[in-house]
């Protein structure tokens, strides 16, 4: 068995998947991992909608593409997206990355993921921690998936704007009232088609950790 930190440090977001289906026992383990996430006062507000239907995944993918693309097209037209990616020195590669972003294709990969899990929170259960609980559940799912050799990607794009969140709810038949359910993200899951280089650069701990008081970098 791997050290747990090895699981954590080798996980990466996977956006390209084989078409093979995910066996039920693996899917059940992913959902079981979510069930054991920390949750304020044990309210467990999370609910999960498992989507395998291609037509539904296409609709979610289209919403994802439009959501990300609508923002990135606008940022590009103002010249700001180009500034964000000026670190890519090769002009052709840079142009290709930018087009991938502003076209929205960056976010439409769930159409090729055999499973999409929508993560929603019941806003009527009394919990005051719904968004935080849901994020903890998603993280558990990504780690469980990775530990079994699956790839996953946590996507907020299609529900980022309020109007799009309502559209997303309608696709899946979720009640659309603002006091009913919070849609926080979906998780695309599949067998990885890509072997992405890892790790992406991470900030060193000394840049992130203070000791005893904010700003104190000296270990006491």
């Amino acid at each position: 068995m791997k050290e747990f930190l090895d699981v954590l440090t080798s996980r990466k977001s996977i956006r390209r998947y084989k078409t093979d289906p995910i066996p039920d026992e693996m899917l059940d383990k992913i959902l079981e991992a979510a069930r054991w996430a920390p949750t304020g006062e044990n309210y467990q507000p999370w609910r999960f909608i498992v989507v395998r239907d291609q037509e539904t995944r296409n609709k979610i993918a289209d919403l994802s593409r439009q959501g990300s693309g609508s923002r990135m097209t606008a940022w590009y037209c103002l010249g700001e997206l180009q500034q964000r990616f000026e670190g890519i020195e090769d002009p052709e590669k840079r142009a290709s990355v930018l087009e991938f972003m502003y076209s929205g294709r960056v976010s439409e990969f769930c159409k090729n993921a055999p499973v999409v899990i929508a993560v929603i929170g019941d806003l009527q259960v009394g919990s005051v921690d719904v968004p935080y609980d849901l994020c903890a559940a998603i993280e558990n799912m990504t780690l469980q998936a990775h530990s079994m050799g699956l790839g996953s990607c946590w996507v907020h794009g299609p529900v980022a704007s309020t109007r799009d969140a309502i559209r997303f709810k309608k696709i899946l038949g979720i009640p659309t009232g603002m006091g009913d359910y919070k849609v926080i993200s979906f998780l695309a899951v599949g067998i990885p088609l890509e072997q992405r280089k890892h790790p992406r650069p991470k900030l060193p701990l000394e840049d992130l950790v203070y000791w005893e008081r904010f700003g104190n970098k000296e270990r006491i």
């Binding site: 097209t73 606008a74 103002l78 700001e80 964000r84 929205g104």
Partner: protein
């Protein structure tokens, strides 16, 4: 009692609290703020120009703004509003004083809402708010996508824009202050 001042103080407090909770994501969550006012008016139009003009008339009659000039980009994706004497402009100064860039514009929300409601556009995005306190005007840049295939249709919105230099001093949704000056 100055009811507008009271209203702006409430809005600014809510803006700072919401930003604190959700960070920049809050930009994407506020698109329905203001729409109740405009939905109660009789807004009519068969295209973006007519919708903006009809909204402007309704807002000016109620004293929300004194005027709105607008410009639609040649490809129909960009919509720029120059809003004059908006009653909500003072709240932007309050929110900016907390170090938070402007992100909630009820006026823009109203216009976009009616473009969605009346013209059935696929999606839209409020991407830039420039607040010119000295001249009591706000610059609003939005992307309109009549159909899904308009997403990804790019051009240089600022190529002939008279406010290009002014915008460099304004908050960006994705760039830090130092990067905007480059």
């Amino acid at each position: 009692m100055d009811k507008i001042k009271y209203c702006n103080e409430l809005l600014s407090r809510l803006e700072t609290l919401a930003y604190h909770e959700l960070s920049g994501m809050i930009h994407w969550k506020c698109e329905f703020v203001g729409v109740d006012f405009i939905r109660a008016k009789k807004i009519e139009g068969d295209n973006v120009d007519e919708i903006v003009q009809s909204c402007t008339k309704a807002m000016a009659e109620e004293g929300l703004v004194s005027d709105i000039k607008h410009k639609v980009g040649p490809d129909g994706v960009m919509l720029k509003l120059t809003v004059k004497d908006c009653v909500h402009q003072p709240k932007e100064a309050m929110t900016q004083a907390a170090g938070i860039g402007p992100y909630l514009c009820p006026i823009a929300n109203m216009v976009l809402d009616q473009i969605h409601e009346q013209l059935n556009y696929t999606t839209s995005y409020l991407t830039k708010l420039g607040i010119d306190h000295d001249n009591k005007r706000c610059l609003v840049y939005m992307a309109l996508y009549e159909t899904g295939d308009k997403v990804g249709q790019v051009s240089d919105w600022l190529a002939d824009d008279e406010d290009k230099e002014f915008l460099k001093s304004q908050f960006s949704q994705i760039l830090a202050a130092e990067d905007r000056k480059k």
